[in-house]
Amino acid sequence: MKRLAEGLKNGLMTFLGLVFLSPIVLMVFTSMKPESEVLNPESAIPKHWTLGNFQHVLGWSEEAPFVRWLLNSVFVSTSTTLLVLTFSSMAAYAITRLKVPGGGVFLGIIVGAMMIPGQLFLVPVYLLLSKLHWLDTPAALIVPATAGGFGVFMLSQFMRSVPESLEEAAILDGCTTLGVFANVVLPLCGPAVATLGIFTFIGSWNDFLGPLVFMDSVRDYTLPVGIALYQASYYTQYGLTLATAVLGTVPLIIVFLLFQRYIVESMSSTGLKD
């Protein structure tokens, strides 16, 4: 009876997962169909498999340097993620554990600022970046992204639930503040940090408005803007459009799978589980 209930639970959740997956499978299949089959839903699986759409997209051209956009995106998203994780975790630690005077108020202000609609910042940040001569450089996409409050808010909420006794024990053992932070608190919040890392990378990778407004030359675009530019000129060719979409998503899937493993590892190594 217990095994049946367990099997039912596993089966139900697996089914839910497959339902969520199916649109993406359809997207991949459709990108491998010749254009004549694309809009025919009679067969989800292509009758004639082809990589022609991908070949067309990856072919180098000055108007659509797909590989170059890919590299831009990798650089921008990686730098943004590293900076956000460093800044946010340090700030969250200072607020929740080092009891910085006014830390609670500051956190309130950060969360308050999160409610401000993003478009409000667009024009002022544009003016600021042009004063700094950062327009059309990767810095314009990386540095302002570290100011967002999401990471500080999230890590603060998680750090609160780390037992204070563990930290005190480390201090009594002669650990420095930096040591406690890096060796005790961060590993204990491993799942949260990994989750934030995934969110930040994806957010940066998929950011559309930023590169659209702050980047001028086609060479400096990141992938989403590049894809949109591409879509605008090929929008009638659904197969090509979906091929760019698939190519633009694959790097994210790789990063996700890497981080996902890290979430699991960090949880089994904390000693909090089992």
Binding site: L12, L21, A94, V100, M115, F150, T195, I263
Partner: protein, 291 residues
């Protein structure tokens, strides 16, 4: 120097990098935006920037499109946030209860969140399409006629909500799952030894321990929902009859299509005020439910 003094001084050093970034890229732009909202600043007529006081705010109050934007945004928020919360919490609990394959299913649920909004809209635009769409194709197979998912006023916003749930539910479920897994096992075991039933365990132990993260999830989802823009913008262009043109889209069109920066900034402030009221209410209510 006392231990606590030294600790909070170190704390300032820890806080500094983020604080500097926050002041430069959030506080400073806010001040500039506040300045813009009381100015008439139209990029079309060069050099025309002058002080108009509260004129922009008064104009919004009397603007029927401002109100239709609020109506569309609210209908998205009211449909989106509760369904997201129930669905994501249920999914997180379900994932936590799995004995095998949890990580694989978690990955599957999260996968849609990797697509960017343009790709998501292209894909679901095809699903929802009236004549060529996948959903109507499947409905026809079982003998139900065409449904106009996106062009019928009552259906357009729910359709956008369903797409958004598919797109973003996994992320919220993962945060809640991480919180569930961070609950020390010995607490659960101790409660089980004391004879706590499943429901009592959830209500008395899991839920209170979950509250800080639940609060985080509710507030960030509400804030996000109030700022909805990409999905309706790409899927319906705000139609039919403005039923899905939220306030952010109207602000965007005001500022970047009609180049009325001052008016756009003023309406952004009004949206902010609405969001702040909602977030504060949620904070109060949830905080009280634990205490």
């Amino acid at each position: 120097m006392t231990f606590n003094r030294r600790r909070s001084l170190t704390g300032l050093l820890f806080l500094a990098p983020y604080a500097i970034s926050f002041v430069t890229f959030i506080v400073l732009p806010i001040i500039v935006a506040a300045y813009l909202s009381v100015m008439q600043f139209d990029l079309t007529a060069k050099g025309s920037i002058h002080y108009v006081g509260l004129q922009n705010f008064k104009e919004a109050w009397a603007d029927q499109y401002f109100w239709s934007g609020i109506k569309a945004t609210l209908s998205f928020v009211i449909l989106m946030v509760p369904s997201m919360l129930v669905f994501a919490l249920g999914t997180a609990i379900g994932l936590n209860a799995m004995s095998r394959g949890r990580n694989a299913v978690r990955a599957l649920l999260f996968l849609p969140g990797l697509l960017n909004v343009a790709v998501t809209a292209i894909l679901w635009g095809w699903f929802y399409d009236g004549t060529f769409g996948l959903f109507n194709f499947l409905l026809k197979k079982v003998g139900i006629g065409e449904v106009h998912w996106l062009s019928e006023k009552a259906l357009a916003m729910p359709s956008i909500v369903v797409m958004t749930l598919w797109w973003t539910m996994g992320g919220t479920a993962i945060v809640l799952l991480a919180a569930l897994q961070q609950i020390p096992r010995h607490i659960i075991e101790a409660a089980a030894l004391d004879g706590a039933g499943k429901w009592a365990m959830f209500r008395k132990i899991v839920f209170p321990l979950l509250t800080p993260v639940l609060l985080f999830v509710v507030i960030t989802n509400t804030i996000g929902a109030f700022q909805v823009f990409g999905q309706p913008f790409l899927l319906t262009k705000g139609g039919p009859e403005l039923a899905t043109r939220g306030l952010v889209q109207y602000i965007y069109e005001t500022a970047f299509n009609n180049y009325r920066m001052g008016y756009g900034a003023a309406m952004s402030w009004m949206l902010f005020a609405i969001i702040a009221v909602f977030a504060l209410l949620q904070y109060r209510l949830l905080r009280r439910s634990v205490a």
